[in-house]
Amino acid sequence: MSRYSLGVFGSLRATFTRELLILWRNPGDIVNPLMFFVIAVSLFPLGGDSDPAYLSGIAAGVVWVTALLAVMLSMESLFRGDYEDGSLEQLLLSPQPLYFHLLAKVAGHWLLSGLPLVLLSPLLALMLALPQDAYAPLMIGLLLGTPTLTLIGAIGMALTVGLGRGGLLLAVLVLPLSIPVLVFGAGMVQTALAGLPYTGLVALLGALLVLALSLAPLAIGAALRISIN
């Protein structure tokens, strides 16, 4: 028998790879939020005015708000599938610590939903005539901000997964809570545009990320145990 016991880390890796596999197998869950991100951003020049001065003024806010909404939209695939086929119950019943498994699951989900947003953002900044030196702060901000948004969105998703039609409710619950990330992220780009140093804000976004990383899984676990009753 080639049975060998997996430590906590081994089983975390299994949950992580399973999450990537599931997302990779249904590409819709990855591509749709990205397409939403690109289309929504390109609506603003169409809706507003295509003069670069105007666009660059609103670019940071537009990119950040649509990134926030794209992350919310991609939350659906985090628990919905596992809830319907019962795997989420098995996760709750497993002797392994739920806290770390949720972290692994959210990390896997972020890798294929949040990270692509970060990589795509320079393209959209280009479309919105954002000056060259604002690309770095935009990407750093998104790199630190999207995992926090994913974690907060996961809390909302865990609360509403049992409701079936939780989609809109998720936004009402989660958007107010993600405002600090939006404020600091978009603020970073503006301070960079004004030529001021933005390292302080990187620290703030990092602090929010660490806070979310440590506290969110507790709330997600409690919410899941409530929803799966």
């Binding site: 809390i155 609360l159 509403t160 409710l169 619950l173 107010p176 809570l177 600090p180 709330a219």
Partner: protein, 250 residues
């Protein structure tokens, strides 16, 4: 001490106790409010700058503050509900949500009416008003989530989790609003102009309306909690007798 706290935890004891002192609370609260409002509207000297428009402050400041500490009370109740599974704490939290949201709405509307003469526009993204707007959204989120569940028990547990997540977020939101505001506009201190060179008599009515509105919070929360107790303990015998005893009206 624990014995007393445990006794307070039982809905029936809470109901009987509030039946006794509710009239007193009602009396004190109405007295404070009436004195405060009449004094503030009619007898306080006008502000040297904004003249009589500043009289809105007598209800704006207490309601805005009320919205914040009612959320803190709701979070404390949610924590008690999650940790010790106290059903009564959850009933109080549910009532707090409605009262807090109402105070927040009044704070926002009075703030914007007060701001119109000073800033020339109904709404400006001032740090305090923005933070209060976000607090209002969180209240709505908690109420919406609680009513989205079919079973009461999971609805109340979910709402408690969201309240606790919200209470962690609130200081961050306040700081973010402050920082964000300094980025865009010079700080327009909302309460500043009123406290300028003004005679101290201006502040006496706020004392009355302040405590009056605190009393009103408890009054409204207790009224709602009593209904909640009757509904959730409907199969208990003491509620059945109470229903029998209730005089038939309309």
């Amino acid at each position: 001490m624990w014995q007393w706290l445990y006794k307070l935890g039982s809905p029936r004891y809470f109901y009987d106790m509030t039946t006794v002192f509710l009239p007193w609370l009602r009396g004190v609260t109405y007295f404070l409010l009436i004195v405060g409002l009449v004094w503030g509207l009619g007898f306080a000297p006008p502000d040297y700058q904004m003249k009589d428009n500043y009289r809105i402050i007598y209800i704006h400041v207490p309601t805005a503050l009320g919205a914040m500490w009612v959320y803190a009370m709701m979070a404390a109740m949610a924590a008690m509900h999650m940790i010790w599974n106290l059903k009564l704490a959850d009933m109080v939290a549910k009532s707090c949500a409605w009262v807090g949201a109402s105070y927040c709405a009044v704070g926002l509307v009075t703030g914007s009416f007060w701001g119109k003469p000073t800033w020339g526009v109904y709404w400006i993204w001032d740090a305090k008003l923005t933070a209060m707007l976000i607090l209002f959204f969180i209240y709505i989120g908690v109420i919406a989530l609680r009513s989205a569940f079919d079973s009461e028990t999971s609805g109340s547990k979910a709402a408690s989790v969201l309240t606790l997540v919200g209470v962690v977020n609130l200081p961050i939101i306040y700081y973010a609003a402050q920082w964000w505001n300094t980025l865009h506009q010079p700080p327009s201190d909302l309460g500043g102009s009123a406290t300028g060179a003004n005679p101290p008599e201006i502040w006496i009515p706020v004392f009355f309306t302040g405590f009056g509105l605190i009393g009103l919070v408890f009054l409204l929360v207790i009224l709602r909690t009593r209904n909640e107790i009757l509904w959730r303990e409907r199969r208990a015998q003491w509620v059945q007798d109470l229903v029998q005893g209730e005089p038939r009206r309309a």
